[in-house]
C-alpha cells in the first residue's frame, strides 16, 4: 500500500471521497459544499457525484441538521457539514433533542447514522464566535460519539470510521491544523473509536491532549526532553469513547498526569481525565494530577489579546515542571 504526504484538509477530503465512492448512500450537505467547502475539504466532489449527493444548502442550520437526520431515517448516510463549529448553536434542538436521543426514545427503531462535521478551535483573529472549543459539552451528551483528531492520518482514518458508524458521530475537524502535512495511506483504513495514539514515549510524566493543541504539546515535550524530563504524550483522538486504559497504564508508569486542552479549563474534558485516573488508580498512585487550559473568557480579537489567552508550548512546559516538583 502506498503512502503519500498530504495536508490534513486533503487527508479528510480523500477519506470522504473514498467512502462516497464505496457507498452510494453516503452524501454530503451543507453551506458551500458544492463549491468544495469552506476549506476545500470537498473539492471536486460535485463533478464526480453530482448535485444530488453534494448538496449546497441554504444557511439554515436547523434544517441542515434535522434534514440530515430525516434522510438517515430512510436509509441514507449523510455527512452534515456545519462550516464552523460555532454555527451548531443554531441547530442544537436538532442535534441534542433529536439526533442524540431518537434511537433511545424510540426503543431502538431509529438509527441516526449521521456524521456532523464541525471545524473547531482558535482561528487566528476570528474572535469569539468563530474560535470556540466546546467539545466537552458533547461528551456530556448521551447518544453520540465525539471525535477530535490532530494528524492527517488520524483525521482520515477516523472520518472513515465515522462515516461507517451507525451511531451519530460528532467530528471536530481541527481547522487550524488543516495545512499541517503528514503521511496518509492510499487506502484509508478505519481507526477504531476510543483508541489513543502514543505520540511520544517517556517515563517521568504523562501528558494527555487532543485536537489542535497537539503540535504545541509535542513541541513542549521536546523542550522538556532537552531538559531531562521525558514525557509520555498521549493524543486521545476521540473523547467519547476515550482510551481510559491507555491513559491509566501510562500514569501507573509515570505517576504524574498533566492534561492540556485548548478549551476553557473550567469543567472541561481535562477534569474528566484527571477524575477518572485518580478514581481508577487511587490517590496513592498519582503523585500529581493537573490540567492546563484556557482561562474562562471568550476568545478576543486583537492579536496580542488572543495570544495572551492561548495555551502555548511555554505554558505547557511550565505546567509540566510544576507537576514534576
Amino acid at each position: 500500500m502506498s503512502v503519500h504526504q498530504v495536508t490534513l484538509v486533503e487527508a479528510v477530503r480523500l477519506a470522504a471521497l473514498q467512502e462516497m465512492r464505496r457507498d452510494p448512500t453516503v452524501w454530503v450537505m451543507g453551506e458551500d459544499v458544492a463549491r468544495g467547502g469552506l476549506y476545500g475539504q470537498y473539492k471536486d466532489f460535485l463533478p464526480e457525484f453530482g448535485a444530488e449527493r453534494v448538496v449546497s444548502t441554504p444557511i439554515s442550520e436547523s434544517t441542515i441538521m434535522g434534514a440530515g437526520l430525516g434522510a438517515a431515517l430512510v436509509g441514507t448516510r449523510p455527512i452534515i457539514e456545519m462550516r464552523i463549529f460555532d454555527f451548531v448553536m443554531c441547530a442544537m434542538d436538532e442535534l441534542v433533542n433529536q439526533i442524540a436521543k431518537i434511537r433511545y426514545m424510540f426503543g431502538g427503531q431509529a438509527r441516526p447514522s449521521v456524521v456532523v462535521r464541525m471545524p473547531h478551535g482558535i482561528w487566528r483573529n476570528s474572535a469569539a464566535q468563530h474560535s470556540q472549543m466546546l467539545e466537552s459539552w458533547f461528551v456530556h451528551l448521551p447518544g453520540v460519539i465525539v471525535v477530535t483528531p490532530s494528524t492527517p492520518a488520524d483525521a482520515a482514518g477516523l472520518l472513515v470510521s465515522a462515516i461507517r458508524s451507525d451511531d451519530p458521530v460528532l467530528f471536530f475537524d481541527p481547522k487550524n491544523l488543516f495545512p499541517v502535512t503528514g503521511d496518509v495511506a492510499s487506502v484509508i483504513e478505519p481507526i477504531p473509536f476510543g483508541k489513543a495514539r502514543l505520540a511520544r514515549e517517556g517515563r517521568d510524566l504523562t501528558i494527555v491532549s487532543w485536537s489542535a493543541i497537539m503540535p504545541a504539546v509535542e513541541q513542549a515535550a521536546a523542550t522538556l526532553a532537552a531538559e531531562g524530563i521525558a514525557a509520555d504524550v498521549i493524543d486521545l483522538r476521540t473523547l467519547w469513547p476515550w482510551d481510559q486504559a491507555a491513559v491509566c497504564a501510562s500514569v501507573e508508569k509515570t505517576g504524574r498526569l498533566l492534561v492540556v486542552q485548548e478549551a476553557v479549563s473550567v469543567a472541561g474534558f481535562g477534569a474528566e481525565v484527571v477524575s477518572t485516573v485518580v478514581e481508577t488508580l487511587g490517590p496513592a498512585r498519582v503523585k500529581a494530577a493537573s490540567r492546563l487550559g484556557a482561562p474562562r473568557i471568550p476568545i478576543p480579537f486583537s492579536p496580542p489579546l488572543e495570544d495572551a489567552v492561548k495555551v502555548t508550548p511555554a505554558k505547557i512546559v511550565a505546567a509540566a515542571k510544576a507537576a514534576m516538583a
Binding site: T25, W27, E52, R53, V55, T57, P58, S60, S62, T63, M65, G66, A67, G68, L69, G70, A71, A72, L73, V74, G75, T76, P78, D93, E94, N97, Q98, I102, R103, Y104, M105, F106, G107, G108, Q109, A110, P142, G143, V144, I145, S165, D166, D167, P168, F193, G194, W240, P241, Q244, T276, E279, T280
Partner: protein
C-alpha cells in the same frame, strides 16, 4: 358527493376516527386512574385531520408527528397494543417504555415518531423526503404540525428547503387555534400559514378539518401532486381541540360557547349524520363505535397486566460504542 367517496371509504374514515377517539378516551381515563404516568396530549375533536390525510397514504409513506400524535400514529396503522403499552410504560411498548405518549413511533408502518419539540418534525420530514427522492422511492413524507409551529424557525427553513429541492413532502398544519394555552392569532403576525407557505413557493389549501370527507378529498389531490413530483404542498386544516393542552388541563380557561360550538361540529358525529343520510343504519355505526371502544378497553386491560420493563432495558439502545451505566462502569 364525489364518486370516490363510496360508502366503504366513508366507513373507513368513520372507523379510524372512532378508534382514535376511543384510544384517547381510554388513555385519558387510565391517566385519571393513575396508571398512565406523565403528560398526555390528546387530540379529541381533531380526529378528522389524521383520518382524512392518512387514508391517502401507503405503508411505505413516512409521517412525522408532534406531541399530540396518537391520532396520526393510529391512522397510519401503528399497532394499538404497542401504543397503549408505551403509554403505560410497560414491556412491549413500541419504544420499549423509553418514549411514552410524546415519543410514540412505529417505524414498521412508516410512523417516524411523535416529537416533544414544536416544529421538531419539520426538518426530519423534509430530510426523509430528500432521502426518499435520492433513492428513487415512490414513497412520500407527510409532516403533521400545529398552528403554533408556524412561528418557529424550522417552519420557514423547512418549507424553503422543500421547495428549493422540489421534495416529495406534504405539510399538514393541524390548526386548532391554540399554542398550548394561548390563542395563536394573538401571537401571530400577518395573514397566516397559507400566505407564509405561498411566499416560499409551497402551494397551500385550507380545509375544514372537522369535515373528514373534505380533508380526505383535499389530501387526496395534494398527495397525488406530491407523489407525481410536483414538489411540496401544504394542507391547512382548521379544527378545534375540545380538551385541554395536557391531561391535567381541564381547559376551564376556555370560553364555554367555543367548546359547545366545537362539539356541535364534532367530526365523528358529522360523518355519522352523512352516513345515515347515505342509508347506513344507525345500529351499524353504533356497532362500529362500540367495537372501537372494546378494542381500546382490551388494550388498556392488556397494558395494565403487562410487566414493567426490566431495568437492563434502560441501558440499551443508547449507542453501539461508549454507553455507560454509572460513573466509570461500562454498559
Amino acid at each position: 358527493m364525489e364518486p370516490t367517496h363510496n360508502i366503504r371509504r366513508l366507513m373507513d374514515l368513520y372507523r379510524t376516527m372512532s378508534r382514535i377517539r376511543a384510544f384517547e378516551t381510554a388513555a385519558l381515563n387510565a391517566h385519571k386512574e393513575g396508571v398512565v404516568p406523565g403528560p398526555l396530549h390528546v387530540s379529541i375533536g381533531q380526529e378528522g385531520v389524521a383520518a382524512g390525510v392518512c387514508l391517502n397514504l401507503t405503508t411505505e409513506d413516512r409521517i412525522t408527528s408532534n406531541h399530540r400524535g396518537h391520532g396520526h400514529a393510529l391512522a397510519k396503522g401503528a399497532g394499538v397494543q404497542g401504543m397503549m403499552r408505551e403509554l403505560f410504560g410497560r414491556e412491549g411498548g413500541h419504544c420499549r417504555g423509553k418514549g411514552g405518549s410524546m415519543h410514540i413511533a412505529d417505524f414498521s408502518v412508516g410512523m417516524l415518531g411523535a416529537n416533544g419539540v414544536v416544529s421538531g418534525g419539520i426538518p426530519i420530514a423534509v430530510g426523509a423526503a430528500q432521502g426518499l427522492k435520492m433513492m428513487r422511492s415512490s414513497a412520500i413524507a407527510v409532516c403533521f404540525f400545529g398552528d403554533g409551529a408556524i412561528n418557529r424557525g424550522p417552519f420557514l427553513e423547512g418549507l424553503n428547503w422543500a421547495a428549493l429541492y422540489n421534495l416529495p413532502v406534504l405539510f399538514i398544519c393541524e390548526d386548532n387555534g391554540v399554542s398550548a394555552f394561548t390563542a395563536t392569532d394573538t401571537v401571530t403576525a400577518g395573514p397566516g400559514v397559507i400566505a407564509r407557505a405561498e411566499s416560499l413557493g409551497v402551494p397551500g389549501v385550507t380545509v375544514d378539518g372537522n369535515d373528514a370527507l373534505a380533508v380526505d378529498e383535499a389530501a387526496g389531490r395534494l398527495v397525488a401532486e406530491v407523489r407525481g413530483g410536483k414538489g411540496p404542498r401544504l394542507l391547512h386544516a382548521k379544527t378545534f381541540r375540545i380538551t385541554g393542552h395536557t391531561s391535567t388541563d381541564a381547559a376551564a380557561w376556555r370560553d364555554p360557547a367555543d367548546v359547545a360550538a366545537a362539539k356541535a361540529r364534532d367530526p365523528i358525529d358529522r360523518l355519522g349524520v352523512l352516513l345515515a343520510e347515505r342509508g347506513v343504519a344507525t345500529a351499524d355505526l353504533d356497532a362500529l363505535r362500540l367495537s372501537a371502544f372494546e378494542e381500546m378497553e382490551a388494550a388498556v386491560t392488556d397494558a395494565k397486566a403487562a410487566p414493567w420493563p426490566d431495568e437492563a432495558i434502560a441501558y440499551e439502545d443508547v449507542q453501539d460504542v461508549g454507553a455507560v451505566r454509572f460513573s466509570g462502569v461500562s454498559a
